[in-house]
Symmetry: C3
Subunit: 471 residues, 3 copies
């Protein structure tokens, strides 16, 4: 017999009674509002399929979630035992991975992954047993049974989660018919958008780049053997995405520089890139030029730009070789925005129709760089804490670092950035609780009235992302 | 009919009842102490004129205050609509600017600008209507009437604000007769000091530098066609300022390096600078040499040095072209003190009569650089949070970052750094409340007795700035 | 007559009653657990001598403790008046140094040095008079008397402090017989370990390096005139230390790079280093190569590696000349781990038997670098806040910065790093209180149950250091 474990309704609200009462009031105003998710990584197929069921709890909660797997890796668990990059992962192995998770549950204490999973377990699956080494097997079996039930298809979950808008992240050449069909289906409960993510096309050293660029030309109906054709092809793909519902283009490079090359130089380097003879330094210079083209195009087509630069991708080469990209081996790099964004902001930052949302994983730039810049330039918005810093402590630090200079109107609103579908409501709820907590502090400080505080938390959930992402 | 809106007497004190009670006690000990303002930008004319009235609320609260205008700029408001750099700004336009401010009031939620203005409105003008889109017009009219009243001359305000000492920031060639006359006037209620700010003379690429240096020579009575003459002229101007009440020289360059040049080199570069042929790199090297001369002179004349380096001045060139300097287009740069100050500290840092106060806008240096250095060198003091970081959250972070290593005796005390006269009491009061809040935390932690805490907050307002700035 | 001054039993616990009650519970679970001190600087002689008495309070509390002396130096006190590097320091001078300390006690408000001394005074010496300018003389006399009593020998203190394990830091050539004899003595109450600290041997520009390397060869029984011999000698010394109880090697260089040189190059540079002709750049390259050898050896002999890089050693040359090293003139430098550790982590970071503990004094790397890296690599552990940041505020920041990504299982546990014996229990107690405080926050947030919180604080004091340092 297990003890019933219930999440406390006041979780993440401030413990001090004065602030907690205010925070409860503020949180009550937003807890049931629909979810707006302008950037994420849930595969479109999960939404398109009218009857999509997850095969088992491990492939839902562990294998695809590098947040979860990297903690176990740090405890000495091999990723292959968690199913990462395994073609033949048996049901026994899947169940065993869940047991390993339970055994390592202590390593998650204090992390958001633990918090999100406990929340999902109770609020999505109504399982009130405490997860841990002794219960992991039992919970696995219970979850596995539930996942077969009709109320646990992706679509039913989207309904249950009250998702109003959700964006996927898609291949530049995708014809987006799955998005179109899903949106055309009156039964699909949310607005579904694709996102334009041209990173690999802007990085000439990507393996197979010339071939990819050739296909880009085929799909766009332009000869991409020249730089002009390449640019035109990308311009058309942006428009194609926009016509099919995209609101933003998403970018992640080593920096955000937009240095332009001369016509002669860009043509020369483009030819070298196609020929595979371009140097690493020139590839970087070409990428910065390409990125500046994206910024220019955004002035014309109006797609919002989101950037999340400064990452050491695949930091561990043995991990990359064995398991591939995006398996937890990325690590934050030092960020720099003020110097690198200067040409971009000087040229386009005063255009209020251009929206540029900067995310970071290096908190030192919030107060020193992003808040002062966003507190001056109409175009610049500060992205919510992201990826390595989407936990309660850094979220509270974020507000305390950006609000004094940039206020609330230059913030992006929450972004879940996840492929872990069942964690989406927990993540948004976490952010709503913490926004309520920070704003409750301002009310308790008598810097805002309760009414003003209420307006701010409500706006942060609906009006603000609607404005920033032009929904 | 409008609802009466009253600031809470506990505002900015800790919400937790235990800490709040302590903080109330500490704050009570300092709330009515006179204001010491060792650095600011109020024009001396406002003090000199026995009957100076502000023409209208916009020219008092909006146009000259880049803190206020940059937030509206970030909302897409053109600075010209706020009167910035406008020669013919009509009364209608001035009133309209105030309405724009009201309309954008939501963008100020959580910022200190909002807090200061609400405080000024109630405590300076006794207006208890809540400012916002609906009341901006009415409040404008009320303020405009009040500004004509005899109790709202600058001098009456200085009395009302209980300002004991206030420093302006002045042109190096100023004859300071306005300061002398004001101080000689028994009716002027405070001690008024000029401040020596030679930045433009130390930066050889300043437009019109050679001409300025010529005038410097004329005023100082020295031939400045040689480096030696230039140095002597600056030495004399420092003494002139000191004789006329200055307590400090103020400096803001891209860095705080003091690398010396050889005699031959400095003479050569000085000649090039006068001829307008100096390179940017050599101008930087010359400026560092000039700055080291200022440091040397401070050993002799005893003027305190305040530095606030590491700013991207006029980051936005279109803003500079249309509106000029100091209109909100400055942005913080990364700071570095430990490496750059080494020669200065090695040579002069152990001289307890030399006071060097380092301000920053990059909070990352407080714990890592300034606190360890000031916790060793008698000469070095850590400036209060300044400019982009003079808000409640960063002020509390500042204390928590510097006190563990440097204690309270190596801090500068509060600096308002403003030309917004009516915000001065609100700014000092903000700092007193937050100092009480931080110290109340130490008392609540049982790290200090209540009596010790009381002594610390009182000292931080009076004894500490009196000592640091040699008042 | 003096008033009795008693430390509050709740000191450093959260003032909010909700959190305080939880924190009291957690703290109660750890307050009486034995002290594990895996790194420190107490001289082994103090432990070896069965009847070691401190000669006077100044030589116990002031002279050898650069934490204490640097604050007085920042107030303009000369270190020689505190006994630093003084051969003939008379009893009168020693007493006077204590009076100077009392006079400057206000400068310590808010610092951990003040907190530790007040704690030691009450809990080690049962003196309940408040230290300060008026009582310093009286307290000095009382302490001096007590130090002669039989219950204040070092060994009695070790017993009283309930120290279970303590490590010294020792010369690489030390034969460690004092450690052996102390451990063999059934009367010695703790386990005493030496630590291998080869820094000076890895820095070829150390004064007298060639001679030192020659002696290293003599002691190790290897000809160190070649690089291979040098490496073998260090390998043997590591083993010697391990055989005599060492659990770790300790390293502090300007960076943590491990770039390898070619065989030809390393032999050439080694010869130049011995000849004293090596350039500064080459000495750095050689040191990085040497350091990589230490890392390799750790794979074989299993010694834990602790690193605390990024310090400007002896920042003030006049202080170095007059008083020598380690007298408070060190200053933190900017830290960088992610780029510099990449080769090391890529090669060895996935070996769970290799333990690499990274300490820093630059808090900006906790959230951005160390937590993400330790949250992936099994080998990497995050050292506790250290040296300039071992105060309440930074300790709480540390937890809030590292736990969200790395949890609690990748933290080193507390390290006192001190030669100030009497401050050891106060330092460990400080950390236990603050760990309880941080974890109480997680419990109050309903992110952990009380029971889970209790387990975490207990583990952090015993199980965690036992695991990390392989005790």
């Amino acid at each position: 017999m297990t003890t019933k474990y219930d999440l406390n309704p006041d979780r993440l609200l401030p413990p001090d009674p004065v602030e907690r009462d205010i925070a409860r009031d503020l949180y009550a105003a937003v807890k049931d509002l629909p979810i707006i998710s302008p950037h994420g990584h849930v595969p479109v197929e999960w939404f398109h399929d009218k009857d999509y069921h997850f095969s088992d709890p491990t492939s839902l909660f562990i294998t695809p979630d590098h947040y979860v797997t990297r903690v176990m890796h740090s405890q000495g668990v091999a990723l292959k035992d968690l199913g990462v990059n395994q073609k033949d992962f048996t049901p026994e192995q899947a169940r065993n991975a869940f047991l390993i998770w339970g055994k390592n549950w202590g390593a998650y204490a204090g992390t958001p992954m633990r918090y999100w999973f406990e929340d999902s377990l109770q609020n999505v699956f109504d399982i009130h047993e405490k997860f841990g080494p002794d219960t992991a097997g039992h919970i696995y079996d219970e979850l596995k049974d539930l996942l077969k039930q009709p109320e646990f298809t992706t679509r039913e979950l989207v309904k249950k989660f009250n998702i109003g808008f959700i964006s996927t992240t898609d291949d530049t050449l995708d014809d987006l018919h799955l998005h179109d069909e899903t949106n055309a289906d009156p039964d699909f409960p949310a607005r579904l958008a694709p996102a334009f993510r041209p990173d690999v096309y802007l990085e000439p050293l990507t393996a197979g780049w010339a071939e990819m660029v050739g296909k880009l030309g085929d799909v766009a109906g332009v000869d991409t053997s020249t730089y002009d054709g390449f640019t035109e092809a990308l311009r058309r793909r942006r428009l194609y995405f926009k016509e099919h519902g995209a609101v933003l283009s998403d970018h992640s490079h080593a920096d955000v520089r937009t240095d332009r090359l001369s016509d002669a130089e860009v043509n020369k380097l483009y030819a070298e890139a196609l020929a595979g003879t371009i140097s690493a330094d020139d590839a970087t210079r070409l990428r910065r030029h390409f990125f500046s083209d994206q910024v220019r195009m955004a002035q014309e087509d109006g797609l919002v730009m989101t950037v999340h630069p400064h990452v050491h991708r695949s930091y561990d080469p043995s991990n990359l070789a064995e398991y591939g990209k995006d398996t937890g081996g990325d690590v934050p790099a030092k960020a720099e925005f003020t110097v690198d964004l200067k040409p971009l902001l000087n040229k386009y930052g005063n255009n209020p129709d251009f929206h540029f949302v900067a995310f970071t994983m290096d908190e030192t730039v919030y107060a020193r760089e992003l808040a002062p810049l966003a507190g001056f330039y109409p175009s610049l918005y500060i992205g919510a804490p992201w990826w390595f810093i989407d936990a309660p402590e850094p979220i509270l630090r974020y507000y305390a670092e950006v609000v004094p200079n940039a206020g609330f109107t230059k913030l992006s609103g929450f972004i879940d950035d996840t492929r872990a579908l069942c964690s989406i409501p927990a993540r948004h709820d976490t952010n709503r609780r913490l926004t309520a907590r920070y704003v409750a502090g301002l009310v308790a400080d008598h810097r805002l009235t309760l009414e003003e505080g209420r307006q701010i938390v409500v706006d942060s959930v609906v009006a603000q992302p609607t404005k920033v992402f032009k929904l």
